[in-house]
Amino acid sequence: MDESELQQRIDALLAEHPPASTDRLDFLHARFDAGLAWVHFPEGLGGLGLPRSMQPVVDKALARAGAPDNDPQRIGIGLGMAAPTILAFGTEEQKRRYLRPLWCGEEVWCQLFSEPGAGSDLAGLATRAVLDGDTWTVNGQKVWTSSAHIADRAIIVVRTDPDVPKHAGLSYFMLDMHDPGVEVRPLRQITGEAEFNEVFLTDARIPDSDRLGEVGEGWKVANATLSSERVAIGGHAFPREFGMVTSVAKTWRERPELRTPETHERLMRGWVDTEVARITATRLRQKLAAGVPGPEGSAMKLTFAKINQQLSGLEVDLLGDEGLRYGDWTMRRPTFVDFFGQDAGFRYLRAKGNSIEGGTSEVLRNVVAERILGLPTEPRVDKDIPWKELPR
């Protein structure tokens, strides 16, 4: 299918379901059924088996026509992590059951991987699932779960066999967040907000039919989920002066009285670092488009964390006395982070998480050193020992 055929399909959708007079959800259903949800997905599952690069054609045309979108920010985890995993590991029945309500936003997803004792070392997780008949009973605690309080379903990794080495005893499921064994508690963080949650699982039940991949294959499936997440990083097209530099630059331009020599140096270094990151991301997109896989993606996450922290620290310092003020410490439960809706202090504190969430900078440096530079892996003492015998 070429671009003009795709355009015909879009025109047909708009003609049959004029956005102005169609119910939002009806339109989304129709869009999904027309294969225009995510064109790189298979036919019948919201796509047309086209290259991912053709998606913007659809998105732009529909936006121009005033069509509703599926509020992608709200369902980001479903779109970015659950959907690709279901597509790759789900049965036909699972795909038909879950992908449509996921994309249309009727079911919000969250992700239950991390635990208090298993952060960087995800494979060390301790949440146990035991099979009884065709239902698993799950007990344990998960943490760092964004959207858990608004989620209908979760992707979750649990330990199904403690008698084998840690990577081998994991399985991967889809959990009903409305199960009575699921309790969600806000986890307040350094900014005062509770962007994340703790999730306590007490005899939560999952039918075996909601398993993704084989029993014991959870590690493989979880890694597929995490790579889908990382693909997104660095592939964006950024404008010049994007991210944290925007608000510092604005303050600098509007408030000459705050300017000092050292803050100028820090600003210019941050501006250059930001621009260099923009260029590097551009090259990464060009490489991906040319089919040359670029290894810079993991390194870019390191860079973004560093830039965000450097510039948000500068912004507070530049403001001086005003930097001592903070917007509001009231506990809120946002569903996504708005760096720029708040003040410099918020950005400073929130940016500290950029080098922790989604893989700490320490773990990412190991990844770069080992997978890209080919340096030896860390000495491992836990690879061949049954999980239950490991010291904790």
Partner: protein, 339 residues
């Protein structure tokens, strides 16, 4: 001044060690970290009882002359108190009232306000830059070269980056004012120098807490079947941080010692300590948050209290850059002329 100053004693004596021990005990009792989070939700169960316990120890009067009811102690003892306050990230008017305001008043030979400060009955704050450390019973308000004591000003609490050091905007309209001195410039500068020099000790306390807490955590925490503190990349960062904290400690002690002795090297010592310790405290607490992983980002762990304290301290009595700029003039290394 680039000639080498004479050595001053940088080691603590027994009096200081005793004092430090008492202060730490009081802080552990009245300002446990569990109680500090509530200050971010406008519930302060700490400041008043802690101040009362401080007063029982005579801390508010440390720098007040003995004949005015104080202890006539020196900057060295005050530095020990501040280091402990920093370690606990505790809320206290000690720095603003018992160090800065007290030093200004003592330099002016004041006998009207100081006795009430010495006992801890009242607190004072110098209004230099806004917002100020508050609540305070007496505001010291400069106007040209003169200085006034103002009582009964209206103050509005500020939601601040570091709620463990309450700040407020003040409105002086209608408040009662008394002239303290027509020529208070030198006294004010002395107070601010004392404040910046001793704030360095608070910053050392903050930094040392961060270093020690992080090391203790990394000795316990296991990932990948190993104690996390055994991963070499972290060991190296902690070794560098240790070197920084030890040096910050020496710099802060030297500042306190020269202030205590009214040594002519005090201004250099203060600007050196203030610029160095301020950056070390921020670095140490940032590392603490990072190396605690997700835990350090939560409200449950005290790292956030210390990070906010360190960042706020760095803005409080002159930025590191401004201290380097002041130092440059003192040691004849002038900034470039405008290009």
């Amino acid at each position: 001044m680039t000639t080498t100053p004479a050595d001053v004693n940088l080691l603590p004596d027994d009096v200081e060690l005793d004092l430090r021990g008492s202060v730490r005990k009081v802080l552990e009792k009245h300002a446990p970290v569990e109680k500090l989070n509530a200050m971010y939700d406008d519930t302060d169960d700490v400041t008043a009882p802690l101040w009362s316990a401080f007063s029982d120890l005579g801390l508010p009067g440390l720098l007040v002359p003995e004949d005015l009811g104080g202890a006539g102690a020196s900057a060295r003892e005050a530095a020990a108190v501040l280091e402990e306050i920093g370690r606990a990230a505790a809320p206290s008017p000690f720095l603003t009232s018992s160090v800065v305001a007290t030093t200004v008043l003592a330099a002016l030979g004041d006998t009207t306000v100081l006795p009430a400060l010495a006992s801890g009955e009242q607190t004072a704050a110098l209004l230099a830059g806004a917002p100020v450390g508050l609540p305070a019973d007496v505001l010291l308000v400069p106007e040209g070269d003169a200085l006034y004591a103002v009582r009964g000003a209206t103050s509005t609490t500020v939601t601040s980056l570091d709620m463990t050091r309450p700040l407020a905007d003040v409105d002086l309209a209608g408040a009662e004012r008394t002239l303290l001195s027509e020529d208070a410039r030198a006294a004010i500068d002395t107070g601010l120098l004392m404040g910046a020099g001793l704030l360095a000790s608070e910053q050392v306390g903050v930094a040392r807490w961060a270093l020690e807490t992080t090391i203790a955590y990394l000795k316990e925490r296991r990932q990948f079947g190993r104690v996390v503190g055994g991963f070499q990349a972290l060991k190296h960062r902690l070794a560098d941080l240790y070197a920084e904290v030890e040096q910050a400690d020496a710099a802060a002690r030297y500042a306190a010692a020269t202030l205590a002795a009214s040594d002519p090297d005090a201004p250099v010592a203060v600007h050196v300590a203030a610029s160095y310790c301020s950056e070390v405290a921020v670095h140490a607490t940032e590392e603490a948050v990072q190396l605690h992983g997700g835990l350090g980002m939560t409200w449950e762990h005290p790292a956030h209290l210390h990070l906010k304290r360190a960042k706020a301290d760095a803005l409080l009595l002159g930025s590191a850059e401004s201290h380097r700029a002041a130092l440059a003039l003192l040691v004849d290394l002038p900034a470039p002329a405008a290009g």
